[in-house]
């Protein structure tokens, strides 16, 4: 209790010292926004000296998104094993480092940085939610790394450091709308989870629906983690649309389908077309989902030359869920696409890989067919398919697009998409 005044001075001194340190650093050597010497992109530390090459897999193995992402992680392992058995990439065995994104977006950013700077991986594969991709994007751009993203998404994005092997909107949403138009649908109800993909998809759907002469008779959103859809389904029942466009994601779909079935709405009177229900998700909904539709590029039931082997290998793979689905197929593609890119470039260096991509002509005989990489926007061409869920929770193909659809993330080829919006988006993305 004594000597207090002297101690107080010391407190002040300590505080002052810290403030001074901070100020010193502030006035230090970092570059300012107006400096001409903007920081150079991080230099790569990829180690190609040995007979292995390190790759990073980044999926949520814990937390809420583990529900979906565990399968993606597993199929990446399978693809790596296959490639290794087949001699590896440029003769080097893949040594993968599996990281857990833990359903936490800052963790995705942290792990990306760790994989690129600590583990010096040549490329990273994974992510599921748009949030996880948006967390990774600035990091790979800054460190000049490579990220392969395997899930259909809302489009309107391009990055020199990201390759998108899932569908962009013109490969899933727009084919679904074309299918609805062909079916003679006049009225449409939009139901989605309350986050960026459904909101963006529905914004695009509304624009295209106006073009196709389809009337939107309702639009409802429920938070991602909520199962209760009864109120919204009652609204659908009251609106009596020809079709429901379902952009719900995750297990909330189960609540939606059950409430829908309960309300006496059937695929005969008011079918649903979904963009997030695949072979993985359908079983959890039992028979109540049977007869409804889904729009994907890949279905397990697709009759292509390479699909049977893929299904067979996957069923035999340890930890397999027993069914194949679009996002996991896209993840499978991503690793092979990377292999093709590296082999064309003859190098693991990011700039060399990107240069090889820009040259064009990179293809892969995927389970969904032979896909081609678009060197400009880093997306791949994909066939559009509409499947109808049968009693085995598999999909009967009822419609397919006229050949493979070229990826068009900014919807350049669609005049109904407002040019000013596109320009502004491209500007802000750049």
């Amino acid at each position: 209790m004594l000597n207090t005044s002297r101690r107080r001075v010391k407190t002040l001194l300590a505080t002052g010292a810290i403030a001074a340190t901070a100020a010193l650093v502030l006035s230090g050597c970092g570059s300012r926004a107006d400096d001409a010497t903007a920081a150079a992109a991080g230099s790569s530390c990829i180690d190609t000296s040995g007979d292995t090459i390190k790759l990073g897999f980044l999926n949520s193995l814990t937390g809420g998104m583990a529900i979906s992402e565990k399968t993606v992680s597993n199929v990446l392992h399978m693809a790596a094993d296959e490639i290794n058995a087949d001699g590896g990439i440029l003769g080097k065995q893949i040594e993968y480092i599996q990281e857990d994104g833990a359903t936490d977006w800052p963790t995705f950013a942290e792990k990306t940085e760790k994989l690129l700077t600590q583990d010096c991986v040549a490329a990273i594969f994974g992510g599921w939610t748009s949030s996880s991709r948006k967390a990774v994007k600035p990091v790979v751009e800054e460190l000049n790394g490579l990220f392969f993203y395997p899930v259909q998404y809302e489009g309107l994005e391009a990055s020199p450091n990201i390759y998108y092997t899932g569908a962009t909107t013109n490969q899933q949403i727009i084919p679904a709308m074309d299918f609805l138009a062909a079916e003679g649908v006049k009225t449409l109800f939009l139901a989605g989870s309350d986050y960026v993909f459904p909101r963006t998809a529905n914004a695009i759907i509304k624009l295209y629906a106006a073009e196709l002469g389809i009337e939107i008779v309702g639009e409802e959103y429920v938070p991602l983690d909520k199962d209760d859809w009864t109120t919204q389904v009652a609204k659908i029942a009251a609106a009596k649309p020809d079709f429901v466009f379902n952009t719900i994601n995750g297990s909330s779909n189960v609540g939606f389908i059950k409430a829908y079935y309960d309300a006496g709405l059937t695929p005969e009177t008011t079918p649903i077309i979904s963009v997030s229900i695949a072979e993985e998700e359908a079983p959890a909904m039992g028979h109540e989902v049977t007869g409804n539709y889904a729009s994907w590029n890949y279905f397990q039931s697709l009759d292509t030359p390479d699909n049977p082997k893929f299904i067979e290998d996957w069923k035999a793979y340890p930890g397999s869920s027993g069914v194949t689905s679009d996002p996991m197929e896209a993840a499978y593609i991503s690793l092979y696409l990377y292999k093709a890119l590296v082999e064309k470039a003859g190098s693991f260096e990011v700039d060399a890989v990107n240069a090889a991509a820009a040259e064009g002509g990179i293809t892969f005989d995927a389970p969904e067919g032979t896909v081609t990489l678009n060197g400009d926007n880093h997306h791949i061409s994909k066939p559009g398919h509409i499947g109808r869920i049968n009693a085995d929770n598999q999909f009967d193909i009822v419609w397919e697009s006229d050949g493979f659809i070229e990826p068009d993330p900014f919807l350049d080829g669609y005049d109904w998409f407002p040019a000013d919006v596109r320009d502004a988006l491209v500007a802000s993305a750049g």
Binding site: G30, A109, P138
Partner: protein, 363 residues
């Protein structure tokens, strides 16, 4: 008490400051500096939780709300700075390219306003909330559940207002930090040093609170609120002050989190994030000076390292930390330290005035 023991905390803060500000930048890689910066931000929030919960007895389960206020204030400024003068942030364009910037964004173009808001916003919100709750004598589990519910409500609100806040995807892709290019090693180090320095300042502030009469009063209120009332104080005001200070610290932590991590989403402020902030405080020792900060850093480190090598195991470990620490070490690891000190003192035959075993177990 001897001179040495009263000075021990200050010496500790000094050593801690040197470690964070001098040693760490010298020995750690850029990646670990950035991680350490993130832990510092969580530790700043934890120091506040230690004050409110450990010393004040208020189990603040919704610190994500204040963390989010600071983080979003900062993120909105950085987003606007990145977009450039007069421009709309990219994510807003799609939904309505012609609509103007939402009114509440506009002032965040200003650097000064942003800095003031980071401090003032949590003060206003926590003062209103705390005044309402404490005056009605809401405490204990009620307080914990209500604050947690508010964190969930805010997270859902942000998720659903996509054009206004970026929604579930949050705000990210910041290029500049108050004029400095974020993609620059020296600037990153600067941002880290600011966060670390702020942590040290928060520790000093809490150290001063704890030794002040206010600190004694706060502990007294925690242990016997009615008695304090019958000494003529309004316990609501005492708790309110600690709650507001904790809120400001959470907000500062959130604000620094944004430039270091590069993204803020509603998930960082929701229920599980808010609970995770508590985990570190419980582990380190809720009522001690260093416990909350070191505990938060330990949890962050565990997430980074163990979460990498054994993700499923890390969740189990995290769960077991909650259970075992609360069950066997309610005062956290710092109580082990106290016990060890007691042993040393006893072995040197110098009975102190208040040996640890005489302390009452926390209620």
């Amino acid at each position: 008490m001897t001179k040495f023991t009263t000075r021990l905390p200050l010496i500790g803060i000094g050593v801690f400051a040197v470690l964070l500000l001098v040693v760490a930048p010298a020995v750690l890689s850029e990646h670990w500096i950035s991680n350490l910066g993130k832990y510092c931000c969580l530790a700043i929030a934890a120091v506040g939780i230690g004050l409110a919960w450990g010393r004040g007895g208020m189990l603040v389960m919704g610190q994500g709300v204040f963390f989010g206020l600071g983080a979003y204030a900062m993120a909105m400024h950085l987003t606007l700075e990145t977009a450039g003068p007069g421009a709309l942030p990219g994510f807003m364009i799609l939904y309505d390219p012609l609509a103007p910037l939402p009114a509440f964004w506009e002032p965040f173009r200003s650097e000064v306003f942003t800095l003031v808001a980071i401090v003032l916003l949590p003060v206003i919100v926590s003062a209103i909330l705390g005044y309402a709750l404490f005056k009605r004598r809401v405490k204990g589990a009620y307080f914990a559940i209500l604050t947690q519910a508010l964190a969930v409500a805010l997270a859902v609100l942000i998720s659903s207002t996509i054009r206004e806040t970026g929604g579930d995807t949050g705000l990210s892709n910041f290029k500049y930090f108050f004029g400095y290019v974020l993609n620059d090693e020296a600037n990153k180090l600067m941002v880290y040093l600011i966060a670390a320095a702020l942590l040290v300042v928060c520790l000093l502030a809490v150290w001063q609170f704890n030794r002040s009469r206010f600190g004694e009063l706060l502990v007294a209120t925690r242990d016997a609120e009615e008695r304090v009332r019958f000494l003529g104080y309004d316990p609501a005001n005492i708790k309110l002050f600690a709650f507001v200070v904790a809120a400001v610290m959470a907000s500062i932590g959130g604000a620094m989190f944004v430039p270091i991590v590069g993204i803020i989403t509603p998930q960082e402020i929701g229920a599980s994030a808010s609970i995770l902030m508590i985990a570190g405080v419980a582990l380190g020792g809720r009522a001690s000076l260093f416990g909350p900060a070191l505990g938060a850093m330990a949890i962050g480190w565990g997430q980074s390292s163990l979460g990498s090598s054994w993700p499923e195991g890390w969740i189990y470990i995290l769960g077991l930390i909650f259970i075992f620490v609360i069950l066997f070490l309610p005062m956290g690891l710092s109580s082990l330290f106290d016990r060890a000190k007691g042993l040393i003192r006893r072995s040197s035959d110098e009975p102190g005035p208040a040996t640890p075993e005489l302390r009452e177990v926390v209620k």
